[in-house]
Symmetry: C2
Subunit: 177 residues, 2 copies
């Protein structure tokens, strides 16, 4: 059943993120302010798969959670880009590899209870090395990780980045890798 939204109030606004409260009435009559976050810029990520090398990944630090982990190339889709164009650009900028043909896997809301942020996931058929990554500061190193190792790393709980985890699990679940 739907909750009645009697209106939203912007508490903080920026081009990147908007925080609001919604005046929500539950079907049982209770009424309260519910926080929500609107993020106008969706993100896209790519599982770049090479039959011999494995999956193209970045070893990077996230300052917000102060954690290190393996991630797939991903980032915000810029104005005027399609999700696929943004995904291709991020792979090249973050890894220095030009991905092959992209196939869309799915799109979803990573934190649907609080935010409308949207992630678009793709798989790419291999990649060709172009040069050092333009966004070299995004990661400590870029490596091809064998699929068997990717499975181990996920299972060990060592991929804490949700976009990467969800995209790789999709590929494992549906035999994309």
């Amino acid at each position: 059943m739907r909750w009645v939204n009697h209106g939203e109030t912007v508490r903080y606004d920026s081009a990147w993120v908007r925080l609001l409260t919604a005046d929500i009435e539950l079907p049982d009559g209770r009424r309260f302010d519910h926080h929500l976050i609107r993020m106008p810029m969706p993100a896209a990520g790519v599982v770049v798969l090479d039959p011999d090398r494995g999956v193209l990944m970045l070893w990077r630090h996230r300052f917000i959670s102060d954690t290190w982990g393996w991630e797939i190339p991903a980032g915000r889709i810029e104005a005027g880009e399609t999700a696929e164009e943004g995904a291709r650009r991020e792979v090249l900028e973050e890894t220095g590899w030009e991905p092959g043909a992209l196939t869309a896997l799915t799109s979803y809301h990573p934190s649907a209870g609080i935010s409308d942020q949207t992630f678009h996931l793709f798989v790419a058929a291999g990649a060709v090395e172009v040069g050092p990554p333009a966004d070299w500061f995004e990661s400590e190193r870029v490596e091809w990780i064998p699929v068997a190792r990717v499975r181990e790393v996920i299972r060990a709980g060592q991929i804490g980045d949700g976009l990467s985890l969800t995209a790789l699990l999709w590929c494992l679940a549906f035999d994309e890798i």
Copy 2:
């Protein structure tokens, strides 16, 4: 490599969500304000699996994205609860079924580029029906969905809730279901 965080400024604060900007310096010397969201209360979700019935799921509307979809029972962990205790409580409150033994699958940050929000995922060995769900207003209906159908629904892109999608993909990838 690490980005230098020269300090954070709180832009909006509440018990549920805190929005800040961090004064970030990149390794290439560029310096800018980076938005981040801190959410002190992690959430937990459970894939309740019955060998005959399938997976216990809720058909619910999300007002933030104005979307309907199948989700697993999940919610915020309350103060004083362990992740497992919160997960068990949410299953019972949202479905009216008491889950069997829980096994931890993994924990992750659903949106690591902007938020420190943490999700804890579990699988439960079946469930016993106790009565109507206390939180009946959380969903339109509660149903056991056969695993084959769960695979179809995910593949069709009809599970847009990230926590549910990631938990179910984990189970499919690692043959939990």
